[in-house]
Symmetry: C2
Subunit: 337 residues, 2 copies
């Protein structure tokens, strides 16, 4: 059985929502969940939920990394944090994947330092899946692991993203676009222009530069950008769609007639809100490191955690990263504490 | 009377929509409009509209810069384009401002080369006004004139934006934020981190880094970023809000019940669409050059052009750039052709 380690201390709504999502996943999905967190937190929640399921394994981690802590400090001072322990489980082949909604920088640092980078990837990239107007999933990377990129890093992100969509989502020769401030190949910063030339020669299905306009429209399957621009963009998209739906709610709520007829327009509007909710896909795979690592949104609910676990399982099933000794846990459920 | 030169050949819907907007502005607003374009186009439209208003002055320009032409080539080969002539009118003090929906790069190049930069501004910045959830206007710059910035350029953009909002929109000590991939001052690229330190010491009302989340929420009055990130961001915002409203229209249109009750939910939804339409503010002032230059959206309608003229007039009234000999035209309406 696949084993997914979950950081129960990561995220703004930890540990309650994370625990609940993990417990539900263990009940509903064909997966072993390794719950990583302080012993007393694990004991309390497992007791409260009266659970002694064979596919739930508590793994103690004595420390917790705060959401605002420096990644370097967290690595130096907290080798027994839920993040460090979770990544270590993957490194040791005891978990096939690790999911955390915790401190992004700390997850990236621990993954890099313990798992190392994949062949052909000098830098890690956090990738984010989102729905487009085409109703298809697209992937954007990097959204924050590597704010300052060289051209070679961007070209490598193109390959990572393309491989990911081909392998994990069975896209046939995914189209790749390089985000720039214009379609022409002479548009962009020096680094972007250089990356354009590298991508052109890469053998990937590279269609050239794309612009901000093209992102929601789903012009390409894989959007390549540096972790600075990607981070700004994805946060803006999330907040803008939220802001628009908030305005809609307020405007419709302020109209007595509209309020009284909510049953008429409510369902179609709700479907649109779901379509454009940038946080529903379930997690951001950290690509370029030697392990299946999924980062969930800091604001993750139990449902988001379940989605994240589902995504991690898909990465395992499709063999995104195959660990040396898969299924160690399936052969008897080793307690690691 | 204020004189605004308008490029009748700029934009995807030129010359019809531009002409119509300019003619309506001349009729409705207290302004002299200098219509810049090929003689035959001007003649045709002025004849068709039967207009011989004293505040409409045709100015012939024999060449037109295409929307996709290289700025350098357009400058070298087309010194008599509607863009070059429009900027020249400002330089010579015959117009107090110039508005164009044409080729962005060509407008920036012509403005830089003919007008030069303002004191304290080494690079130009296209700035874009937008509405936030606070219902207040905010300014983001640069959105495309200077894709590759040094830290000093970013700090200068902070001052330009702050001065603009204080002078033209009467904001009291506008708050300034530096766009980054995290709030902490150690987040961002090297250039952004260095710019943070410069802005801190600038005497501006600098509140620190802001993130993509904060843009629609209106956390600050002035958002400082490089022309690459700003361009991606503003185009994404425009396309995302469009995509969301398109989805809403389709979802509501597909529901027979919702369709039949449109009069109930239609008006509040339309107010929200207007609020979040990134193209309604009327133009993007080009800051840092020695002249009042407003760039209208490439897709501008007649109404957008009227909005752009209104914004240009506000810049003139509040003295954004004061030309040496204002009102040359008011003293008799010189024909320049």
């Amino acid at each position: 059985m696949q084993a997914v380690a979950v950081d129960v201390m990561g995220g703004d709504r930890a540990p309650e929502e994370i625990m609940q999502g993990a417990l539900e996943a263990a009940r509903e999905q064909d997966v072993t969940i390794l719950l990583v967190g302080p012993q007393e937190v694990l004991d309390f929640h497992l007791k409260r939920n009266g659970l002694a399921s064979s596919n739930l394994i508590p793994v103690a981690a004595s420390q917790v990394v705060g959401m605002a802590e420096s990644p370097t400090d967290s690595w130096k001072d907290k080798q027994d944090s839920s993040i460090a322990v979770g990544v270590r489980l993957v490194k040791e082949g005891r978990a096939d994947a690790f999911l955390s909604a915790g401190n992004t920088g700390a997850i990236v640092a621990a993954s890099l330092l313990m798992l190392g980078t994949m062949e052909g990837a000098d830098r890690p990239a956090i990738s984010s899946l989102f729905t487009t107007t085409q109703g298809k999933l697209a992937l954007v990377l990097d959204i924050g692991a590597t704010p300052e990129c060289r051209a070679t890093h961007l070209a490598q992100f193109g390959r990572l993203g393309s491989d990911f969509m081909a392998k994990v989502f069975k896209y046939d020769r995914p189209t790749v676009g390089l985000l720039s401030n214009g379609e022409e190949e002479n548009k962009g910063t020096r680094v972007v222009k250089e990356a354009h030339q590298l991508l052109k020669k890469s053998g990937l299905n590279f269609i050239g530069n794309i612009e901000g306009f093209d992102v929601p429209r789903g012009k390409v399957d894989v959007i390549v950008t540096d972790g600075f621009t990607g981070n700004v963009m994805i946060k803006l998209a999330e907040s803008l769609s939220e802001s628009i739906f908030l305005s809609l709610k307020q405007a419709l709520g302020a109209s007595p007639v509209a309020r009284a007829t909510k049953m008429l327009w409510g369902p179609p509007i709700r479907s649109v809100v779901r379509q454009w909710d940038y946080s529903t896909i379930g997690g951001a795979p950290l690509l370029g490191v030697n392990g299946n690592i999924v980062m969930a949104h800091g604001d993750s609910s139990a449902a988001d955690i379940k989605d994240g676990i589902r995504l991690a399982r898909q990465m395992i099933t499709e063999g995104w990263v195959v660990h040396k000794e898969p299924g160690i846990l399936a052969q008897g459920g080793v307690h690691l504490t």
